[in-house]
Amino acid sequence: MIATAEKPVAAIDSVDGYDLWSRVGDPVEGEMFRSFAKFGTLPSDSPGMAQVRRATYQTDKLRQDLAGVGDFTSPVPYPDTYFAHKLAGLAAYINFGLPLRVVTIRAAGGYDTHADQAADLQSNLRDTCDGILAFQRDLEQRGLADRVLIELWSEFGRRPEENGSLGTDHGAAGCARPVLVKP
């Protein structure tokens, strides 16, 4: 989760759609969501209530914003991983013109490798890198590559010495890498 002091953040579970279920029919459903949005604009008297209000309002807004995105197709093949699927959707979103500025996405797998590091790291890194490569190709195909900078980072580092369980323990220095592509 990325947190910002003042900018609103939109979070989505899946790139395949952002739907709020409803049990009522067409003429009145819109009224129901209008009331839902209204709850989000009412004044709040406590931080907890403010949090609920804000989430409510933004949820309704995002529901309307993403209603037009629909299904997407990708001009390049993506690896068959969920991580790559998310990137494929992201490329389509950027292409659609959503006002995105910063996007965060979690790399495939986990990297807290206290044990059996070699196998975990290899497969997770492979899935991540294959996905990012396809994403980059996708952006190039759509002519969006000049607008997008991909950055890879981790929140802390690991110690150079290995531990007893074929892994490494937490350390101080970490790494961050922007992906730079030669034109």
């Binding site: 003042e6 939109a10 206290h114 997008v148």
Partner: protein
């Protein structure tokens, strides 16, 4: 005379009775085939099939869960399926000094039941009011006997009993069911608190049963001594796997548990309570626990003195031959522990930080014997508890309260993935620091909460054509009816006004629809409204959605909306400070997000909230940063390995951990990441979709065939967690 179906009973000759010695009959064995997901040891998951054997024929729908099959008999006097609270002690203690002095009426009782349970149903709030503050609190914190679960036992969508130890997600259902049906709600809340406190995830635990056992540990010790609980959690099999306590040997200590036991469980980070040296020494003290591995995962957890470091360790300045029990004791005896404990327990019940006299009071109360119950009771009787602003409920708590209110029991598997989308899959907290109680809501989780309420209302609707539905129902009546179905929650005035307005608006829409009249070919006996002024309108109405009032009522609509405004949806109880951009620790920073795409809208060039003004006004050609986050601290030396550096091979003596490939870049670094994307010097890449040299795009692989149908559907819907969504890897040889 009818022929008897059985031959008459003959007298048995004892001497001729066949003896089975020597020619023993082979006993019949009944087999039950199951599958489950287990980690394959390479960071992925595989399906493991195994067989239960029964020596007696299992009854249809037999219970495969842990322990005894829960009884299904309902307690007399329960309301809407939710059990009555435990009867309070006849004589309650006097009001302690410093306790809440204000009136203890229904609002206070409701708050107590919401924060120390799963909400008030039926006459529960009134029952607590009659007990007074002290009696009410003690009825929750001093339950007698074991919990009684009343109402129907949980089932999956097909009506079969759930299999908490075996089927994916059923462990979540098992606990959710306990929350819904128990008569000791605070025990479940405390177990949830300690599940968050000692956050352990199924992601690195080999058997679901071990997670269930751990939660039972929390249940049984949630009011007693924290030191006992801490020790039990330290050597709990799930915890030993989760934080590598079982891979912590005297030859090479693994520091994972030693760090977290101080940072997260007992002392807190950045308080100067411990040093990195203390972590190393604690890790040595904790050495010695090991287990065996078999087809079912890890088992036979035990302390092996040969694996324990018997040297002298110095922790917090105390030297001795410390073991794991000492490691826990040293933490609890640390002068900074009581204040950590009091503040942490406080934060689950009150949204304001613990400070001042209250802090001193709770800290000294706790320090006398490290007992949990006195501190808990003091918190539940404190003025801050009743006077503080609302808190946001955790999603599972909200769902359990919703189901209790509706009188529904667990009859679908949907709850586990809906709760996962709402940010709280039980037994799978996001990381070792648990869930972030300050950040339950964002657009993704709000959507999931909305969908949960919509799902919970399935099958509970008003029959619009039924006799008991008044066709002349007014907006006010519809609202009253909708609210009654939620147990008449306390509603803010502005919410009530908006709901009433919604009822009126929808009424006018419905009336307008009625006035259009029915479609041609509709049932002729339905009354036709004469007021159709536009000729030819019938033919224009070809879509079924123009038919009158298709099965929906205002009550039904308002029921959804009332959930939103009142107790169901936006969890108005609970609530906490905003996430700020500053002062986030690394844990806080990580704790959210189910690992899915998150986007920040807006930036300096766009008006502060492009988000709020919408797409149309947003700039189209701004630069975008896509930030890919390696969760858990990636090993930089494996990403860019200094192959050939003598120091490197010295620090990484085991070949499996060392990159072998020689670097292509100058400077002696093997670029594990860069090599995936081609090498410096490759031709320019402006190809139109064809594969390029250096690209290593794999063709899409087929989904593994042994994904069970449920997961296959979820995969198709994109709702599967990363690890499960990936095709299963080929088995690698060790």
């Amino acid at each position: 005379m009818a022929i008897p179906r059985h031959s008459p009973v003959k007298a048995v000759d004892e001497k001729r009775k066949p003896k089975h010695r020597g020619h023993r009959k082979r006993r019949r064995v009944w087999k039950d085939k199951h599958f489950r997901w287990v980690p394959d040891g390479h960071g992925d998951w595989r399906v493991q099939g195994y067989i239960y054997t029964h020596h007696h024929k299992p009854k249809k729908g037999h219970f495969r869960g842990p322990g005894k099959k829960p009884t299904a008999q309902a307690l007399p006097g329960t309301v809407a399926g939710a059990p009555a609270p435990t009867p309070a002690p006849a004589v309650s203690d006097p009001l302690p000094p410093g306790a809440y002095q204000g009136p203890f009426g229904r609002p206070q009782a409701v708050r107590l039941l919401e924060r120390a349970g799963f909400g008030a149903v039926g006459g529960q709030a009134e029952a607590l009011v009659s007990l007074g503050l002290v009696g009410a609190v003690q009825s929750l914190t001093r339950p007698s006997g074991t919990a009684v679960l009343s109402g129907p036992a949980p089932t999956d969508d097909d009506g079969n009993p759930i299999a908490p130890a075996d089927a994916w997600g059923h462990d979540h259902l098992w606990w959710l069911d306990r929350m819904v049906r128990t008569n000791q709600p605070l025990v479940e809340r405390m177990a949830l608190i300690f599940h968050d406190w000692f956050a352990t995830s199924l992601a690195n635990v080999s058997r679901q049963q071990q997670m269930i056992d751990q939660s039972n540990l929390f249940r049984s010790q949630c009011f007693g001594s924290f030191l006992d609980l801490f020790r039990a959690a330290t050597i709990d099999p799930a915890m030993l796997q989760w934080l590598n306590g079982n891979e912590n040997y005297k030859w090479a200590p693994n520091e994972n548990y030693a760090r977290e036991m101080m940072e997260l469980f007992s002392l807190g980070a950045d308080r100067g309570a411990y040093s990195e040296d203390d972590i190393r020494e604690q890790a040595r003290a904790l050495t010695g626990w090991r287990n065996d591995w078999g087809d079912v995962g890890a088992y036979n957890f035990r302390f092996d003195p040969n694996w324990h470091d018997t040297g002298t360790k110095t922790v917090f300045g105390h030297s001795g031959n410390w073991g794991w029990e000492d490691a826990c004791r040293l933490c609890v005896e640390h002068p900074l522990h009581p204040s950590f404990f009091a503040a942490k327990l406080w934060s689950y019940f009150v949204p304001q930080p613990l400070s001042g006299g209250r802090q001193d009071e709770l800290t000294s109360l706790y320090a006398t014997g490290w007992q949990i119950r006195p501190v808990l009771e003091s918190i539940l009787m404190s003025p801050e508890f009743y006077e503080s602003p609302p808190m946001v409920k955790p999603p599972v708590v909200q769902l359990a309260g919703t189901l209790r209110t509706l009188g529904r029991h667990i009859d679908t598997e949907a709850w586990y993935w809906l709760c996962e989308e709402a940010g709280q899959r039980l037994f799978m907290p996001p990381n070792v620091s648990g869930w972030d109680d300050n950040r339950w809501l964002d657009t993704s989780r709000m959507r999931a909460r909305w969908n949960i309420v919509t799902y919970a209302l399935e099958g509970i609707s008003v029959d619009v054509w039924g006799d008991d539905y008044s066709t002349t129902e007014t907006a006010e009546e519809a609202l009253a009816r909708a609210l009654a179905s939620w147990g008449n929650p306390a509603l803010r005035e502005e919410h009530r006004a908006e709901l009433l307005d919604l009822a009126r608006r929808s009424e006018s829409l419905i009336v307008a629809n009625w006035q259009k009249g029915p479609l041609p070919g509709d049932a002729p006996e339905r009354p036709r409204t004469a007021d159709r002024r536009q000729p030819g309108r019938d033919s224009a109405m070809s879509s079924p959605k123009h038919t009158c009032c298709d099965g929906f009522t205002r009550s039904q609509l308002l029921r959804s909306a009332a959930a939103e405004a009142g107790k169901g949806l936006p969890a108005i109880e609970p609530g906490m400070p905003d996430p700020a951009g500053t002062g986030l620790s690394r844990r806080k920073f990580l704790s959210r997000s189910a690992g899915l795409a998150l986007a920040v809208y807006g930036a300096s060039k766009i008006p502060l909230s492009a988000f709020e003004t919408g797409i149309a006004q947003a700039a189209q050609n701004d630069k975008i940063v896509v930030s890919v986050f390696f969760d858990g601290g990636i090993d930089a030396l494996s990403v860019l390995a200094p192959v050939g550096d003598p120091k490197y091979s010295q620090l990484r003596p085991k070949p499996r951990l060392r990159a072998r490939r020689r670097a292509d870049l100058q400077g002696g670094h093997a670029p594990a990441v860069a090599s995936r994307g081609g090498r410096a010097g490759d031709p320019p890449r402006r190809g139109q979709g064809q594969r390029l040299p250096g690209d290593r795009l794999r063709p899409p692989r087929p989904v593994a065939l042994h994904l069970p149908p449920l997961l296959r559907d979820r995969r198709a819907a994109g709702r599967l967690p990363d690890r499960l969504a990936r095709p299963l890897p080929r088995r690698r040889r060790r």
